[in-house]
Subunit: 149 residues, 2 copies
Protein backbone atom coordinates (compact mmCIF):
# COMPACT_ATOMS: atom_id res chain seq x y z
CA UNK A 1 0.00 0.00 0.00
CA UNK A 2 1.33 3.43 -0.92
CA UNK A 3 -0.88 5.31 1.48
CA UNK A 4 -2.94 4.38 4.46
CA UNK A 5 -6.69 3.98 4.03
CA UNK A 6 -7.83 7.04 5.99
CA UNK A 7 -5.46 9.20 3.95
CA UNK A 8 -6.60 7.46 0.78
CA UNK A 9 -10.27 8.10 1.45
CA UNK A 10 -9.74 11.78 2.14
CA UNK A 11 -7.68 12.06 -1.03
CA UNK A 12 -10.30 10.41 -3.21
CA UNK A 13 -12.63 13.30 -2.55
CA UNK A 14 -10.05 15.92 -3.43
CA UNK A 15 -10.36 17.82 -6.68
CA UNK A 16 -6.74 18.88 -6.86
CA UNK A 17 -3.74 16.61 -6.84
CA UNK A 18 -1.69 18.18 -4.11
CA UNK A 19 -4.51 19.51 -1.93
CA UNK A 20 -4.75 16.59 0.47
CA UNK A 21 -1.50 14.82 -0.23
CA UNK A 22 1.37 15.63 2.05
CA UNK A 23 3.54 17.04 -0.71
CA UNK A 24 6.96 16.94 0.93
CA UNK A 25 7.85 13.84 -1.05
CA UNK A 26 7.46 15.89 -4.24
CA UNK A 27 10.20 18.26 -3.07
CA UNK A 28 12.68 15.38 -2.78
CA UNK A 29 12.60 14.90 -6.54
CA UNK A 30 15.20 16.52 -8.79
CA UNK A 31 12.78 17.74 -11.46
CA UNK A 32 14.53 18.67 -14.70
CA UNK A 33 14.54 22.16 -16.20
CA UNK A 34 11.13 21.43 -17.71
CA UNK A 35 9.75 20.35 -14.34
CA UNK A 36 9.65 16.69 -15.38
CA UNK A 37 11.12 13.39 -14.22
CA UNK A 38 11.42 10.16 -16.26
CA UNK A 39 9.25 7.31 -15.00
CA UNK A 40 9.92 3.64 -15.65
CA UNK A 41 6.82 1.49 -15.48
CA UNK A 42 7.21 -2.19 -14.69
CA UNK A 43 4.60 -4.94 -14.69
CA UNK A 44 4.09 -6.13 -11.10
CA UNK A 45 3.28 -9.66 -12.23
CA UNK A 46 5.81 -10.44 -14.96
CA UNK A 47 8.54 -7.95 -13.98
CA UNK A 48 8.70 -6.81 -17.61
CA UNK A 49 9.45 -3.16 -18.20
CA UNK A 50 6.38 -1.84 -20.00
CA UNK A 51 7.26 1.74 -20.91
CA UNK A 52 9.10 4.92 -20.06
CA UNK A 53 7.05 8.09 -19.61
CA UNK A 54 7.33 11.42 -17.80
CA UNK A 55 5.65 13.09 -14.84
CA UNK A 56 5.48 16.61 -13.49
CA UNK A 57 4.57 17.40 -9.86
CA UNK A 58 0.86 17.33 -10.51
CA UNK A 59 1.02 14.03 -12.41
CA UNK A 60 2.82 12.36 -9.52
CA UNK A 61 0.48 13.88 -6.94
CA UNK A 62 -2.53 12.62 -8.92
CA UNK A 63 -0.94 9.19 -9.37
CA UNK A 64 -0.58 8.87 -5.60
CA UNK A 65 -4.08 10.22 -5.07
CA UNK A 66 -5.82 7.91 -7.55
CA UNK A 67 -3.59 4.87 -7.22
CA UNK A 68 -3.48 4.82 -11.05
CA UNK A 69 -0.71 6.10 -13.29
CA UNK A 70 -1.09 9.69 -14.45
CA UNK A 71 1.71 10.96 -16.67
CA UNK A 72 2.59 14.23 -18.37
CA UNK A 73 2.24 13.88 -22.12
CA UNK A 74 5.09 15.86 -23.65
CA UNK A 75 3.55 15.68 -27.14
CA UNK A 76 0.08 16.79 -26.04
CA UNK A 77 1.38 19.04 -23.26
CA UNK A 78 -1.25 17.91 -20.77
CA UNK A 79 -1.85 15.42 -17.97
CA UNK A 80 -2.45 11.95 -19.32
CA UNK A 81 -4.39 9.47 -17.22
CA UNK A 82 -3.03 6.29 -18.79
CA UNK A 83 -5.94 4.26 -20.17
CA UNK A 84 -8.35 7.20 -20.32
CA UNK A 85 -9.24 6.29 -23.93
CA UNK A 86 -8.16 2.65 -24.21
CA UNK A 87 -9.26 1.49 -20.78
CA UNK A 88 -5.75 0.17 -20.27
CA UNK A 89 -5.38 1.73 -16.85
CA UNK A 90 -2.30 1.02 -14.71
CA UNK A 91 -3.04 0.26 -11.07
CA UNK A 92 -0.06 1.36 -9.02
CA UNK A 93 1.38 -1.08 -6.50
CA UNK A 94 4.64 0.61 -5.65
CA UNK A 95 6.55 3.83 -6.36
CA UNK A 96 10.33 4.06 -6.05
CA UNK A 97 12.81 6.92 -6.29
CA UNK A 98 16.44 6.45 -7.28
CA UNK A 99 19.61 7.48 -5.48
CA UNK A 100 19.96 10.79 -7.31
CA UNK A 101 16.26 11.59 -6.98
CA UNK A 102 15.93 12.08 -10.72
CA UNK A 103 14.11 8.92 -11.85
CA UNK A 104 10.99 7.09 -10.67
CA UNK A 105 10.04 3.44 -10.92
CA UNK A 106 6.39 2.39 -10.84
CA UNK A 107 5.24 -1.17 -10.32
CA UNK A 108 1.76 -1.57 -11.83
CA UNK A 109 -0.99 -4.01 -12.68
CA UNK A 110 -1.60 -3.36 -16.38
CA UNK A 111 -5.32 -3.60 -17.12
CA UNK A 112 -6.05 -5.31 -20.43
CA UNK A 113 -2.45 -6.54 -20.61
CA UNK A 114 -1.60 -3.85 -23.16
CA UNK A 115 0.63 -0.90 -22.29
CA UNK A 116 1.70 0.17 -25.80
CA UNK A 117 -0.33 2.31 -28.19
CA UNK A 118 0.67 -0.13 -30.95
CA UNK A 119 -1.46 -2.79 -29.23
CA UNK A 120 1.49 -4.70 -27.82
CA UNK A 121 1.98 -5.77 -24.21
CA UNK A 122 4.79 -3.27 -23.84
CA UNK A 123 6.57 -0.50 -25.67
CA UNK A 124 9.99 -2.20 -25.72
CA UNK A 125 9.18 -4.63 -28.51
CA UNK A 126 12.17 -3.85 -30.76
CA UNK A 127 15.34 -5.82 -30.10
CA UNK A 128 18.79 -5.06 -31.49
CA UNK A 129 19.89 -8.03 -33.61
CA UNK A 130 22.83 -7.82 -35.99
CA UNK A 131 22.70 -4.02 -35.91
CA UNK A 132 19.00 -3.92 -36.79
CA UNK A 133 15.95 -3.24 -34.62
CA UNK A 134 13.71 -6.26 -34.99
CA UNK A 135 10.10 -6.34 -33.77
CA UNK A 136 9.96 -9.41 -31.57
CA UNK A 137 6.62 -9.09 -29.78
CA UNK A 138 3.13 -9.55 -31.24
CA UNK A 139 0.33 -7.03 -31.60
CA UNK A 140 -2.32 -8.34 -29.19
CA UNK A 141 -5.05 -6.01 -30.40
CA UNK A 142 -4.98 -3.69 -33.42
CA UNK A 143 -4.79 0.00 -32.44
CA UNK A 144 -7.97 0.75 -34.43
CA UNK A 145 -9.80 -1.74 -32.22
CA UNK A 146 -8.41 -0.07 -29.11
CA UNK A 147 -8.90 3.55 -30.05
CA UNK A 148 -11.98 3.09 -32.21
CA UNK A 149 -11.01 4.62 -35.49
CA UNK B 1 23.60 -12.38 -28.81
CA UNK B 2 23.48 -8.78 -29.89
CA UNK B 3 25.92 -9.23 -32.73
CA UNK B 4 27.35 -12.17 -34.57
CA UNK B 5 30.80 -13.40 -33.63
CA UNK B 6 32.65 -12.36 -36.78
CA UNK B 7 31.21 -8.88 -36.46
CA UNK B 8 32.06 -8.90 -32.76
CA UNK B 9 35.68 -9.84 -33.34
CA UNK B 10 36.22 -7.15 -35.91
CA UNK B 11 34.61 -4.63 -33.60
CA UNK B 12 36.83 -5.56 -30.67
CA UNK B 13 39.86 -4.29 -32.56
CA UNK B 14 38.25 -0.99 -33.41
CA UNK B 15 39.44 2.15 -31.66
CA UNK B 16 36.34 4.19 -32.34
CA UNK B 17 32.82 3.23 -31.41
CA UNK B 18 31.08 3.68 -34.71
CA UNK B 19 33.95 2.73 -37.00
CA UNK B 20 33.10 -0.93 -37.47
CA UNK B 21 29.54 -0.99 -36.23
CA UNK B 22 26.86 -0.69 -38.84
CA UNK B 23 25.47 2.55 -37.46
CA UNK B 24 22.05 2.64 -39.10
CA UNK B 25 20.44 1.50 -35.87
CA UNK B 26 21.73 4.67 -34.21
CA UNK B 27 19.76 6.77 -36.69
CA UNK B 28 16.51 5.09 -35.64
CA UNK B 29 16.77 6.67 -32.20
CA UNK B 30 15.00 9.93 -31.39
CA UNK B 31 17.91 11.57 -29.55
CA UNK B 32 16.82 14.54 -27.45
CA UNK B 33 18.01 18.11 -28.03
CA UNK B 34 21.16 17.28 -26.06
CA UNK B 35 21.83 14.23 -28.22
CA UNK B 36 20.90 11.85 -25.40
CA UNK B 37 18.40 9.06 -24.78
CA UNK B 38 17.31 7.66 -21.38
CA UNK B 39 18.39 4.07 -20.75
CA UNK B 40 16.68 1.70 -18.32
CA UNK B 41 18.96 -1.04 -17.06
CA UNK B 42 17.38 -4.26 -15.84
CA UNK B 43 19.01 -7.24 -14.15
CA UNK B 44 18.81 -10.22 -16.51
CA UNK B 45 18.61 -12.68 -13.63
CA UNK B 46 16.21 -11.09 -11.14
CA UNK B 47 14.30 -8.81 -13.52
CA UNK B 48 14.82 -5.95 -11.08
CA UNK B 49 15.28 -2.49 -12.56
CA UNK B 50 18.75 -1.44 -11.47
CA UNK B 51 19.09 2.14 -12.65
CA UNK B 52 18.27 4.79 -15.20
CA UNK B 53 21.12 6.44 -17.07
CA UNK B 54 21.72 8.22 -20.38
CA UNK B 55 23.57 7.48 -23.61
CA UNK B 56 24.67 9.51 -26.58
CA UNK B 57 25.45 7.95 -29.98
CA UNK B 58 29.00 7.10 -29.07
CA UNK B 59 27.99 5.52 -25.74
CA UNK B 60 25.53 3.22 -27.47
CA UNK B 61 27.99 2.37 -30.24
CA UNK B 62 30.61 1.48 -27.63
CA UNK B 63 28.11 -0.51 -25.59
CA UNK B 64 27.33 -2.64 -28.64
CA UNK B 65 31.00 -2.92 -29.51
CA UNK B 66 32.18 -3.98 -26.02
CA UNK B 67 29.11 -5.88 -24.90
CA UNK B 68 29.34 -3.88 -21.65
CA UNK B 69 27.30 -0.85 -20.68
CA UNK B 70 28.88 2.50 -21.53
CA UNK B 71 26.79 5.53 -20.59
CA UNK B 72 27.11 9.28 -20.94
CA UNK B 73 27.67 10.88 -17.56
CA UNK B 74 25.70 14.12 -17.55
CA UNK B 75 27.41 15.35 -14.36
CA UNK B 76 30.96 14.59 -15.56
CA UNK B 77 30.17 15.29 -19.22
CA UNK B 78 32.08 12.30 -20.50
CA UNK B 79 31.65 8.67 -21.50
CA UNK B 80 31.28 6.44 -18.48
CA UNK B 81 32.17 2.78 -18.79
CA UNK B 82 30.05 1.49 -15.90
CA UNK B 83 32.30 -0.29 -13.41
CA UNK B 84 35.51 1.38 -14.62
CA UNK B 85 36.38 2.29 -11.01
CA UNK B 86 34.28 -0.12 -8.95
CA UNK B 87 34.67 -3.19 -11.14
CA UNK B 88 30.87 -3.42 -11.19
CA UNK B 89 30.70 -3.86 -14.94
CA UNK B 90 27.38 -4.61 -16.65
CA UNK B 91 27.53 -7.35 -19.27
CA UNK B 92 24.85 -6.64 -21.86
CA UNK B 93 22.52 -9.46 -22.82
CA UNK B 94 19.85 -7.58 -24.74
CA UNK B 95 19.10 -4.06 -25.99
CA UNK B 96 15.56 -2.88 -26.71
CA UNK B 97 14.10 0.27 -28.24
CA UNK B 98 10.61 1.53 -27.47
CA UNK B 99 7.75 2.37 -29.83
CA UNK B 100 8.62 6.06 -30.04
CA UNK B 101 12.33 5.41 -30.42
CA UNK B 102 13.12 7.65 -27.48
CA UNK B 103 13.99 5.18 -24.71
CA UNK B 104 16.28 2.16 -24.45
CA UNK B 105 16.08 -0.92 -22.22
CA UNK B 106 19.22 -2.90 -21.43
CA UNK B 107 19.18 -6.35 -19.90
CA UNK B 108 22.48 -6.94 -18.10
CA UNK B 109 24.42 -9.27 -15.84
CA UNK B 110 25.53 -7.01 -13.00
CA UNK B 111 29.04 -7.94 -11.91
CA UNK B 112 29.50 -7.79 -8.14
CA UNK B 113 25.74 -7.56 -7.68
CA UNK B 114 25.98 -3.82 -7.01
CA UNK B 115 24.69 -1.25 -9.49
CA UNK B 116 24.32 1.76 -7.19
CA UNK B 117 27.12 4.08 -6.10
CA UNK B 118 25.67 3.91 -2.57
CA UNK B 119 26.72 0.24 -2.46
CA UNK B 120 23.21 -1.11 -2.89
CA UNK B 121 22.09 -3.69 -5.44
CA UNK B 122 20.16 -1.06 -7.30
CA UNK B 123 19.49 2.66 -7.38
CA UNK B 124 15.73 2.38 -6.75
CA UNK B 125 16.00 1.68 -3.03
CA UNK B 126 13.61 4.39 -1.81
CA UNK B 127 9.95 3.44 -1.61
CA UNK B 128 7.03 5.83 -1.15
CA UNK B 129 5.28 4.93 2.11
CA UNK B 130 2.76 7.26 3.77
CA UNK B 131 4.03 10.18 1.69
CA UNK B 132 7.65 9.59 2.71
CA UNK B 133 10.56 8.06 0.78
CA UNK B 134 11.79 5.16 2.89
CA UNK B 135 15.08 3.35 2.23
CA UNK B 136 14.08 -0.29 2.01
CA UNK B 137 17.18 -1.99 0.62
CA UNK B 138 20.47 -2.66 2.40
CA UNK B 139 23.94 -1.33 1.62
CA UNK B 140 25.83 -4.43 0.52
CA UNK B 141 29.24 -2.81 0.56
CA UNK B 142 30.17 0.65 1.89
CA UNK B 143 31.03 3.12 -0.89
CA UNK B 144 34.44 3.78 0.66
CA UNK B 145 35.24 0.09 0.29
CA UNK B 146 34.14 0.20 -3.36
CA UNK B 147 35.80 3.43 -4.41
CA UNK B 148 38.78 3.23 -2.06
CA UNK B 149 38.62 6.43 -0.14
Amino acid sequence: MLINMAESNSMKSSKRGEANVSSGFLDAIAWNTEGLVPVITQDADSGQVLMLAWMNREALARTVERGEAVYWSRSRKRLWHKGETSGHVQIVEDIRLDCDGDALLLSVRQQGGIACHTGRHRCFYRRLENSLWQSVEPVLKPPEAIYGK
